[in-house]
Amino acid sequence: MEIPYTVKPRPDTGLYNAKVGIWLFLASEVILFGALFSAYILLRVGALDGVWPNIKNAWPHGLLNIPIGTFNTAVLITSSVTVVFAWAALKMNNFARFRICMVITIVCALGFLCIKSFEYNEKFTHYELRLKSGKAYTGHIEVNGKHPGFWDFGSIYNLARLETDKVEKVKFTADPPKAKPGEKHDESTPKHEVMEVATSDIAHLDAFIPRNHTFFAIYFLITALHGFHVLGGALVLAWFTFPGSKMWLTEPERFINRIEVGGLFWHFVDLVWIFLFPILYLL
């Protein structure tokens, strides 16, 4: 006996095996991201007051780059549209158009990841500084004439690191007091305040990295997990588009099913982002 319904749908359920499988898998993925979203809510509700510079409520707010986030959302929505077009093209027996649409999807996925890594870099080089005098800033640092960068993890500084490296003072370029969305912009404040800070005056210094605050911890964790899903999805779709597309000649119906399953996963990954974007960036 061979395994039935691998290609043709089972009459009473109307589904082929892989479609049931992918939906079950997506159900568990919903719970996985749901658990992380609830973790986000619990951490945010439980956050204490007064631990973040220049921000009244306890939770860091408005630190993420909204224009870039919006653009990335558009990129992912586009990729979902093209993946459906690719599937529809196969249904209409148009392999060339399938391949074009698929390539656009994959390019969108990689573009998303590139933009995301740019955003990560922005955070990894951005610092929070609190002085013993009680003043607090966000901005960029320069240690021994060098800006710490993204690819060089060893050069992310915090107070303990400055002390062990015996760095006596750092140059700090503070951000201008930024208008939060929904607040009036005060034009009278100076653009950038540049100052020399002695290590002995610092109460707290750290980049916008996960260990700095639970907001960054949960932001990086969720977006990284989502990023791995994007990467995994893109790899699978790329395999379907190029080496795996030989199946189109031998078993076209099964190949269309595979594209549909891949497309379902891709839609799910994009849908997660549709929820992630407003919750992390805007709220």
Partner: protein, 599 residues
């Protein structure tokens, strides 16, 4: 495993010869097989080894509890050589090792022994046969699921040998304890525990997707939902529990891993002081969050442990009473209710955390609700015995013992579900007694019953009845001698997780003597497992051969395959004409009417 598959052509060798198109080599046949039966047996053997290993850990802990801080005879010096003097000093088990054994005993028994045995082994071997399918829906995924499990087990075991030793924060790994238990090492036992868990969870997820798809899609012609054997229903619900309850633990595991390795504070509260100095972390995390995410898995997991065993017991009771199961439909609806309700009872493990009385009241109510369908299942199985002509063979003895043992386990759970009484009982030996009654003489008896029952299908030979009965009576007696005294200790207020056996607290004096008693009983229990091990291996080679493909005269589809079933299982596509338990149908020629027998 190899023996199990090769030595047993039995009576149906001629039929099996029809299936010659599949002749793989040794590796792809026994090691990297995609055949659900081979994978089931792989799961079974691996899980039984882990079961024994977890049991040995417990015997060593019982030795420490009975004779605190005295050298362990024979094994003590060996452990000292293997694990170092930090763990065992002049043959005496150190507190760290006791804690590590405690954590690993729990983890191994739950995630590496019982779930793989109940779901992986029996589910894999029996489910496709019972629904009349040629294999699982995704055979290669099935193989991947086994190897993820194997890898997870290897990672767990290897954690004993790294500096600092295995995880020692309990099988629940509560934060922040789990994050600070071993601060001297960057990668510690807890790290490997978390990596191992992520692998095991991936394995369970793949398995669950596969099982549910198989049951939905690959049922044979005529196998409508209400003709499914109850075991398949139990596996279906178990599959859904694994699919939907495990991801939160995966998320929590990743968060704790990041906490431990990269200094985040998901579960570390602000102002956490360790050894007199404040921990250099940002804080702002929530220890309660870990407990919620853990128990969101943890409670459905209890039903993952028990439901497959109920399924097995149901099959065996129907077969050996020679009459239909009483209230098949109520069993099915109850098991669905249990599955649904088990997702909303998790916080009854957390009454003591200060999460608030309103929340406690909600979870107390749902906990009382979930006991109703559980009792319906148990009652239906009890009533099924009424008026049957019962065959007292070994599988039936184990199945019968399951009923009262699970009953004791379930009933002693009620005081723990009520939050007023739980406050007194929660951290005591009472809890240990309670859940071991559910899992040890409950689930494990169910699984033993299943092994004795399906052994002839897998090998073509019966297991030895005499040895089986020795195994059964010895196990039944000593299981009770081990776990019943724990209720007394617990009600006296003896705290669990004490490596000196509770001697620290004066209030325990009157029940400390029971520690020695329990430890002796545990050794007795170990002795009575030897007949099983001998029986298992002897019967593969020299057990009594079966005289037909349906030696128990059962009705379900797995008995209409050749023995052992060939690749692809059925000679011709089975068609189902009747319900699963049509025994002693009035007017029928025989006292059983197989599901594929035409009306």
């Amino acid at each position: 495993m190899a023996n199990a598959k090769t030595t047993s052509h039995g009576t149906s060798a001629d039929q099996a010869h029809d299936h010659h198109h599949y002749e793989p080599g040794f590796w792809s046949k026994y090691i990297f097989s995609t055949d659900h039966k081979v994978i089931g047996i792989q799961y079974g053997i691996t899980a039984l080894v882990f079961l024994l290993f977890g049991f040995i850990l417990m015997l060593l802990m019982r030795q420490q509890l009975a004779k605190p801080n005295q050298p362990i005879p024979v094994i003590g010096p060996i452990l000292e050589k293997v694990l170092g003097t930090d763990m065992v000093n002049s043959g005496v088990m150190q507190a760290d090792l006791y804690n590590a054994f405690g954590a690993m005993h729990g983890t191994i028994m739950v995630f590496l022994a019982i779930v793989p045995l109940a779901f992986g082994a029996f589910g894999n071997f029996v489910t496709p046969l019972q629904i009349g399918a040629p294999d699982m829906a995704f055979p290669r995924l099935n193989m991947a699921s086994y190897w993820f499990y194997f890898l997870g087990g290897v990672v767990m075991l290897s954690s004993f040998f790294i500096p600092g030793g295995a995880a020692k924060s309990g099988w629940t790994s509560y934060s922040p304890l789990a994050s600070i238990a071993d601060m001297a090492h960057w990668v510690d036992g807890q790290t490997l525990w978390l990596i191992g868990m992520v692998l095991l969870i991936s394995s369970s997820l793949l398995g669950a997707v596969n099982f549910i798809t198989t049951i939905i899609q690959l049922r044979a012609r005529g196998m409508s939902w209400m003709r499914l054997p109850f075991f398949v229903w139990a596996q279906l619900v178990t599959g859904f529990l694994l699919l939907l309850a495990f991801p939160p633990l995966e998320a929590a595991g990743i968060m704790q891993l990041v906490d431990n390795l990269f200094g985040t504070s998901f579960f570390l509260p602000t102002g956490l002081v360790v050894n007199g100095s404040q921990l250099p972390v940002s804080g702002g995390g929530s220890p309660l969050l870990w407990q919620h995410l853990f128990w969101f898995l943890g409670h459905p997991e209890v039903y993952v442990l028990i439901l497959p065993a109920m399924g097995i017991v149901c099959e065996i009771i129907a077969n050996n009473t020679r009459k239909p199961i009483w209230g098949y439909r109520s069993l099915v609806y109850s098991v669905l209710c249990v599955g649904f309700l088990s997702f909303i009872v998790w916080a009854h493990h957390m009454y003591l955390t200060g999460m608030g009385t309103k929340i406690s009241t909600f979870f107390q109510t749902t906990t009382m609700m979930i006991s109703i369908p559980s009792v319906i299942i148990l009652t239906a199985l009890f009533i099924s015995l009424w008026g049957g002509s019962i065959r007292m063979n070994t599988p039936m003895l184990f199945a019968l013992a399951f009923l009262p043992m699970f009953g004791i386990g379930g009933l002693t759970g009620l005081p723990l579900g009520l939050n007023a009484t739980d406050i007194y009982l929660h951290d005591s030996y009472y809890v240990i007694g309670h859940f071991h009654y559910v899992v040890a003489p409950g689930t494990i008896f169910g699984l033993f019953a299943g092994i004795y029952y399906w052994f002839p299908k897998a090998t073509g030979r019966f297991m030895n009845e005499t040895l089986g009965k020795i195994h059964f009576w010895g196990s039944l007696l000593f299981m009770n001698l081990v776990f019943a005294p724990m209720f007394i200790q617990g009600m006296k207020g003896m705290s669990r997780r004490m490596y000196d056996g509770g001697a620290t607290y004066a209030g325990n004096a009157s029940v400390l003597g029971l520690n020695t008693f329990i430890s002796h009983a545990a050794i007795g229990l170990a002795v009575f497992q030897i007949p099983f091990i001998i029986n298992f291996f002897m019967s593969i080679r020299s057990g009594k051969k079966i005289s037909s493909d349906n030696p128990w005269e059962a009705t379900t589809l797995e008995w209409s395959t050749p023995t052992p079933p060939p690749h692809g299982n059925f000679i011709k596509e089975p068609v189902v004409y009747r319900g699963p338990y049509e025994y002693s149908v009035p007017g029928a020629a025989k006292d059983f009417s197989p599901q594929d027998q035409q009306a």
